[in-house]
Point group: C2
Chain length 274, copies 2
Amino acid sequence: MDRSVEIICIGNELLIGKTLNTNAHWLTKRITLLGLATRRVTVVGDNINEISCAIQESIHRSPSFLLTTGGLGPTFDDKTLEGLAEALGRRTNVNEEALKMIKEKYLSYAQEGMMDAAELTPPRVKMAKLPEGAKPLHNPVGTAPAVSVKHKSVTIIALPGVPSEMKSIFDESVAPVMKKAACGVTFFETSITSTNVMESEMAPLIDKVMQTNPRVYIKSHPKGTERVPYIEFHLSTTAKDANAARNRVSEALIQLTELIQGKGGKIKPTKPET
Amino acid sequence: MDRSVEIICIGNELLIGKTLNTNAHWLTKRITLLGLATRRVTVVGDNINEISCAIQESIHRSPSFLLTTGGLGPTFDDKTLEGLAEALGRRTNVNEEALKMIKEKYLSYAQEGMMDAAELTPPRVKMAKLPEGAKPLHNPVGTAPAVSVKHKSVTIIALPGVPSEMKSIFDESVAPVMKKAACGVTFFETSITSTNVMESEMAPLIDKVMQTNPRVYIKSHPKGTERVPYIEFHLSTTAKDANAARNRVSEALIQLTELIQGKGGKIKPTKPET
């Protein structure tokens, strides 16, 4: 079973430096902890052709899952479903189930006294125009449903860009499916920080530990400079058995610590990322 | 003159959700303010084939500039230059100018008393192995030089992943070239926030303002929900003349404000992004 995932984040705001892409960060972390592996994140603007091309290219690489974020709302710049339909060579139609979801939301708003919510205007119907064969996913927080469609071997899920909506739909509808696809594989990681020894001096040590522990991936993250060395070592692995994963990482950690100390490095606990 | 830019961010830490991609955010903002336009951001892992494919795909789309971040350091997981060479069908060789830069850095560290810095070890020489025809760019902060190479019409610049190094090289060596390429085009943006009216009700207003002001891009960013509407409207344009850009956005802003208020919306100043 291939456990690969791709993410396409859609929105001009991500390409002009207005918005920091916290959605990709949140999703990649969750996907990793669920036992799957994100292979690529792509960011494109609010342009049907760009969206369609990015989706087609991703499908061509055959990930198990392709998630998109953004572009599901009622305004003209929300173009994800059109781009998705174009990529799949399908038409968009008003999906009755999606329309019902949207109708019920606005009805409840109207009942709460929002007079403008009574009518099913074209911008609201737009959110129910899904590619043929796609199905809507319940949005616990907002109005636009997410959209799921299978194409060849790829499960494509279009999530909204508003973080609270994206997260709640992921947790409710995507995470359970991904957990199942992971077939019990878990990810385990740990990290230590060392001072006093340059990264270029550490290179052969890392090589040595990875040779002895071929299933543990070790990555050095220089947080200082060669002149004032302050390096984080991140060790990770995936395994079917959580204990096996932990033991595997621990063995590599012990060997690495000894080698670093042998070079005169001082090991410190890693400060959490900000 | 095409003003398009692509960015490829390289690093497993970005795909497992360990590191938030602030590099892409910083670069896209700077590129926009310099008058160029980022068309795509791609994130791939520390894998020569993945890096090479992403670079080849980008070159195929012919942006004026392709920037990469990450993977220039001395350890085994730093694979950007190998991936770049593979994408261009070129070999890597020790570049004498790059080697000199690196040698001088370590010599200065050794002179400051870092005994381990005296020798030009293989991990240090590795940072000077550039694709044929590429040239190194001075790194004012760290050790690994950045790398610049022209391929067909694309200027490719490989920047380090450490933010302080990436930023200083961009400011010193990349920004001046990009500013020139922008030929005086400037970007202008402003934004307002409105409460009280749902985004779905705003859709026709935005369409109207964009029809009257076809060169202004207006994007609505829902910060609340349809039920408790809180929407940011971001207006932007690019023009050769900064005053023309400002006036163009101002005209659209006035019209949009009037239409929103006509619907019963309350305009508030936009809170800065966090």
